[in-house]
């Protein structure tokens, strides 16, 4: 059975239609009309995505791979737009459309007071379309289209509040850092074309084994392995999009965007595009253990060191942002040990619980009248129970408590790294293990600071009436003193809490039911290729005796104890001995500074790349263009002509006696020359013989 082209087209295009309607016709359809059309568009995509997943899993449908139209055809070289929909794509479709749908719903509540309401809906629908194009692509051109298109929407959404200087700094930074990644990515695509003469996935993967033994001459005498060059270049693209060290710097700043997009784009979907891409390219990556070691080390470094920064953040969104970086590192580590399906599995569970955490944080932010600093929160659990409980569920999944979804995906990664023999696996194992402790520390700290302990905010008495209702909750945005609220925080409306509940369910349960088939049952089939020698997941699968047993076993393992340590220490510090946090901070001041300054990476980048480029540009402009070329070459030659002409002109004074004098002078010189050179020769010249 074949999947129908029209269904796939509808999945991709329905959000685009919604985007165009909300974007261009918001005047006619109004705010409600805008959210209705976009919600409808994404809703249709979501239903059809589940249908496609069902068809591919239980309905017996085969993977779909067809071109829709020719993008260009030059000689033998064809570039087409087309869809490849197998189980890997289907899983991405479901994750993207499901989270996107909930975020659309949530936005109705979150952005209710914003002037850019319809614009926001237009953007997030455009994002959904772009993301679909990316995951459904069957070739490198369309992949790159989706890749850059999601980058564009990310740029637009980070800078959504374009009046804020920090927002428009962050979006430029995000785009440029991503472009550094895309630079590598494009070269990777060029290398694919060079070695395999195609831009089509199926053809490229089919001829991938032919890459073995081929090399690329970099300099005279230096030969690089073809597969390594291709994979490292492609992975540089993934490092940009999935914010891996050292291209991670844009993601924390992207929190300048409204919270719904932090959940959708900068946690659940877009940032995982790099992970998806590498998983999609598994037939290529399997050819280069060098590239995979590179992937492994980068991922491990990201997993541990960005997580550490999360511990010292006070902004509720930034904690989750660093947590996202760290979790992306876990996924990358999984890729690095050839555990592609594990990476995608963690991608899925992470999408649910991280979107949940972000949306929960957004709910807190609404309640706190746009205060994001956790130092002014505390004790919120009694004001907003639904947010509190759902965020705890998300947190438990994040720290990988057995039986939650996060446990199944993360624990499998840690175990697989332990089994791997790839170069760098020992370092990675240490990082992911230590990362478990770090994850626990920042997560529990965040939960306690936000929901538990004493209230660290005050409510102005004269505003404390409920009948003011929702409307003026946002009025004081940006104008209040820190920690002073116009009226008491309260639970968010249903459009906000319903998505939280709907995300809490898969955060808790999806791992339990799917870990068996997805990780150990070869569910992805031919979509993911793993070399038999590197199949750590297969090795791990031999010890797998069902989800229940796996979870029980998890209670006896080191990661769980590390989380327990984090839990106990955070509980003690933040519930019973709040002064302790400060003492620890003072005791470890140098370390705290290093983390607070984010290892100075941003400062170095800004000084070297941003300011350095401007300085270099000025040098080129002033010295190269203005001085050397314009002043010397162009105007210099003009001046030279001018000077020569001016001196020649002086000879032609117009005075008769000047000319007479010149004639006499000339005659004397001639005669003198004649006399000097001897008789005959010069005379004959003069008379023309």
């Amino acid at each position: 059975m074949q999947l129908s082209t029209s269904i796939l087209l509808t999945i991709a295009l329905a959000p685009l239609v919604g985007c165009l309607l909300a974007g261009f016709f918001s005047k006619f359809i109004g705010r409600a009309g805008s959210h209705t059309v976009t919600l409808l568009g994404v809703g249709i995509s979501c239903v059809l995505s589940f249908h496609v997943l069902y068809q591919l899993t239980l309905g017996g449908a085969e993977a779909y791979n067809q071109n829709l139209y020719t993008w260009f055809q030059i000689g033998p070289l064809n570039a087409s737009i087309g869809f490849l929909v197998d189980r890997l794509t289907a899983m991405m479709l479901v994750v993207v459309s499901f989270v996107s749908l909930l975020v659309h719903l949530y936005t109705i509540g979150y952005m209710a007071e914003d002037d850019g309401y319809t614009r926001f809906f237009s953007y997030i629908s455009l994002f959904t379309f772009s993301m679909f194009m990316l995951v459904m692509s069957n070739n490198f051109v369309q992949l790159f289209f989706g890749w850059e298109a999601v980058g564009l929407v990310s740029y637009l959404l980070i800078g959504f509040w374009y009046k804020r200087p920090t927002a428009i700094f962050a979006n430029l930074k995000a785009f440029l850092v991503n472009r550094v990644g895309d630079f590598g990515f494009l070269l990777g695509i060029a290398a694919v074309l060079y070695f395999m003469h195609t831009l089509d996935y199926a053809t490229a993967f089919g001829s991938a084994p032919g890459l073995v033994g081929r090399t690329l001459q970099i300099t005279a005498g230096t030969q690089w392995d073809a597969a390594t060059v291709i994979c490292i270049c492609l992975f540089i693209g993934a490092m940009g999009k999935s914010a891996q060290v050292p291209l991670h710097v844009w993601l924390p700043d992207s929190m300048e965007g409204p919270t719904p997009i932090s959940a959708l784009i900068h946690a659940a979907t877009m940032v995982t595009a790099g992970i998806f891409m590498v998983a999609r390219m598994s037939p290529l990556f399997e050819l280069s253990s060098t590239a995979l070691s590179f992937v492994l080390v980068i991922g491990a470094t990201t997993a541990l060191f960005t997580g550490l920064i999360g511990i010292v953040q006070n902004d509720i969104k930034r904690v989750i942002a660093y947590s996202t970086l760290s979790q992306l590192g876990y996924m990358t580590v999984a890729l690095g040990v050839s555990m592609y399906s594990g990476a995608v599995f963690h991608l899925m569970t992470h999408a649910f619980f991280k979107a949940l955490l972000f949306l929960g944080a957004g709910s807190v932010i609404i309640a706190m009248h746009h205060e994001q600093d956790m130092r002014y929160m505390g004790g919120l659990r009694k004001y907003m129970p639904i947010t509190w409980i759902t965020m705890w569920i998300g947190s438990l999944a994040l720290v990988a408590v057995p039986f939650t979804s996060g446990f199944y995906s993360k624990d499998a990664i840690i175990e697989a790294v332990g089994l791997s023999h790839r170069w760098g696996a020992h370092y990675a194992y240490f990082c992911v293990m230590a990362g478990a402790l770090v994850t626990g520390l920042y997560t529990f700290r965040q939960m306690y600071l936000t929901f538990h302990g004493k209230e660290r905010f005050t409510v102005l008495a004269h505003h404390g009436h409920d009948h003011h209702g929702h409307d003026d909750a946002h009025d004081d945005h940006g104008q209040h003193e820190p920690g002073v609220l116009a009226h008491a925080p309260k639970e968010s409306p249903w459009v906000v809490t319903l998505p939280l509940v709907l995300l809490a369910i898969p955060s808790l349960l999806v791992g339990f039911f799917t870990v068996g088939p997805v990780l150990f049952g070869n569910w992805f089939g031919s979509a993911i290729h793993v070399d038999a020698a590197d199949n750590v997941l297969g090795e791990l699968g031999q010890e797998f005796h069902g989800s229940f047993a796996m979870a029980l076993h998890g209670f006896t393992q080191l990661p769980f104890f590390l989380v327990l340590i984090a839990f106990v220490s955070c509980t003690y510090i933040y519930l019973f001995n709040p002064a302790m946090a400060d003492k620890i901070k003072r005791a470890f001041m140098p370390l705290w500074i290093v983390l607070d300054r984010k290892y100075w990476v941003d400062n170095v980048y800004f000084a070297v790349f941003a300011q350095g480029s401007v300085k270099l540009g000025r040098l080129f402009w002033k010295v190269g263009d203005t001085a050397a070329i314009d002043d010397v070459m162009v105007n210099g030659s003009v001046k030279l002509v001018h000077r020569v002409a001016a001196s020649v002109r002086r000879l032609q004074s117009g005075y008769l006696y000047h000319y007479a004098f010149a004639m006499i002078l000339g005659l004397i010189l001639l005669l003198g020359g004649y006399w000097l050179m001897g008789s005959g020769h010069m005379g004959s010249v003069l008379v023309g013989q």
């Binding site: 993008w71 260009f72 030059i74 070269l187 060029a190």
Partner: protein, 502 residues
């Protein structure tokens, strides 16, 4: 069948300029509508051209040839291939938008302005279909005159300096071309370009002729280091002048390379391909940095034009390298196609960028970036177009700016990964200078009261920008029709690259 379509395309705007001129100062609206009529008719004629040209067979078509100067054997010879057709269609399209763009903006002697524009359009079309080298040369020089007038009369405060620099610079270059053409003429006794293409030449001859042509066309493109006339000319030119200059006139330089260097001196071209490639890469990287620090919006976009035209010259000469060094005809075709697509695409994008700057200038009478800030607050629709064209300028996939650069970078990798590495640097630096401009002009809170008083784009401006946007998006989403139009001509060019003439 009517077989003077090319003559019609050339002479319709040139002759049409006369009644526009006659409308005089007294009847500016008549002049405007007349010139619009002429521009639209020319555009319609170019649609007929698209329909008449058989892209499948390729080669020169719709040939016209009459003896012009019998004693020297100079012909009035016209014909088009797919590349010419594409360039002509782009020219007539931009022609309408330039007339519409100048509508109320030019208040001083609008009839003369419009007439000069139409004249320029006709001459440019002529350049793209001349098959006689002397006719080409005459038209190549003649286009300087209306542009000289446009900058000199409707230009900014330093217009005299700029227009002289522009005129003398290009004129200086074309003298070398003339000498080369005269040398060839005394060998074969004709200026017919097909005959010149078949003429065997020694390497020494080819080298001299190559550099003569290179100087002439490199100035026109312009390539580093003979590019400094362009920012000055752009800064002083009126908006319409800048649009035509960037969109069409620069292409005359690269078009000349295709018609003269490739067929007449292929061996010297191949031998010195490295030189042009290095200069192109310098244009992409070095000029990118220079663009980054510009304080004048127009200068910034002018420099960005130099960088983007670098992809055209890069594509053409990488094709040389691919054919001669590795016999990789498929990749050479990709490089050449990339260069051609980039020519058309840059026409739309640079035209649109300069139109945007014109829109801002009309409201604020300043081109200085620091005078702006937060324009999006008062002109959201303008902001939409500006961001779209900025993204096209950074080569975002889905816009035309991506297609050509993508093809050239992919093909360059096959010639030498280092070339691709430097060329791909445009991804970063191009985004940096374009989006930093957008950040400073568009985003942010309203910075001053002048910005606060800016009015949203009107219907006419929306029409112009939307037309550009349509072209930019259509080419980006589906480049195949354009590629198909030029494909057989491009493969013929690539085959010519392989022919040794020594």
């Amino acid at each position: 069948m009517f077989n003077h379509l090319l003559s019609l395309l050339i002479w319709l705007p040139v002759v049409g300029a006369i009644p526009v001129l006659l409308a005089g100062t007294a009847r500016p609206n008549l002049a405007r509508w007349l010139s619009m009529l002429v521009a639209v008719l020319t555009f319609v004629a170019s649609l007929f051209l698209l329909q008449q040209y058989n892209a499948a067979t390729g080669g020169l078509q719709l040939t016209e040839s009459y003896m012009w100067i019998a004693s020297w054997g100079v012909h009035y010879g016209l014909a088009v291939d797919g590349i010419s057709v594409a360039l002509i269609a782009m020219t007539t399209f931009v022609g309408i938008l330039v007339i519409a763009g100048a509508w109320e903006v030019i208040q001083d002697k609008p009839h003369q302005y419009m007439a000069a524009m139409l004249m320029l359009e006709g001459l440019l079309i002529g350049v793209f279909c001349a098959t006689d080298a002397l006719l080409f040369y005459a038209l190549f020089e003649a286009i300087l005159i209306p542009m000289f007038i446009l900058i000199g009369i409707w230009g900014g405060p330093r217009r005299v300096y700029a227009t002289l620099k522009f005129f003398i610079y290009t004129f200086f270059g074309s003298v070398f071309m003339l000498i080369a053409l005269l040398y060839l003429y005394q060998k074969v006794g004709t200026f017919d370009m097909a005959t010149l293409a078949a003429l065997p030449l020694t390497m020494k001859e080819q080298t001299w002729i190559f550099f003569a042509f290179l100087i002439a066309f490199a100035i026109k493109v312009p390539m580093v280091p003979v590019h400094t006339w362009l920012p000055d000319a752009h800064v002083e030119a009126p908006t319409g002048g800048s649009v035509v200059l960037a969109a069409v006139m620069l292409k005359v330089g690269t078009y000349g390379m295709l018609r003269f260097i490739l067929p007449i001196v292929p061996d010297a071209g191949a031998h010195y391909a490295w030189l042009v490639i290095v200069l192109s890469l310098i244009a992409i990287v070095y000029i990118g940095y220079v663009a980054l620090v510009q304080e004048d919006m127009k200068k910034l976009v002018a420099y960005s034009s130099v960088a983007h035209m670098g992809f055209v010259t890069l594509g053409i000469f990488v094709a040389f390298m691919l054919v001669r060094d590795s016999g990789n005809v498929a990749m050479a075709g990709l490089a050449m196609q990339g260069a051609m697509v980039q020519m058309i695409s840059h026409g739309f994008i640079s035209g649109a960028m300069f139109t945007c700057i014109g829109v801002l200038y009309d409201r604020m009478h300043t081109r200085s970036i620091k005078d702006y800030g937060g324009v999006i607050n008062v002109m959201p629709w303008f902001g939409f177009f500006y961001v779209l064209f900025a993204m096209a300028n950074c080569g975002l996939p889905g816009t035309s700016g991506f297609v050509g650069e993508f093809m050239v970078i992919l093909a360059s990798f096959s010639a030498n990964p280092w070339i691709a590495l430097f060329a791909a640097f445009t991804l970063i630096i191009g985004a940096a200078y374009t989006l930093w401009l957008v950040k400073r002009v568009l985003w942010g809170d309203i910075t001053n009261s002048h910005v606060a008083e800016m009015k949203e784009i009107n219907g006419r401006e929306t029409f112009v920008l939307a037309s550009f946007a349509f072209a930019v998006l259509a080419l980006g989403i589906w480049p195949q029709p354009l590629v198909h139009l030029m494909n057989s001509s491009v493969s013929q060019l690539v085959q010519q690259l392989a022919i040794h003439k020594i």
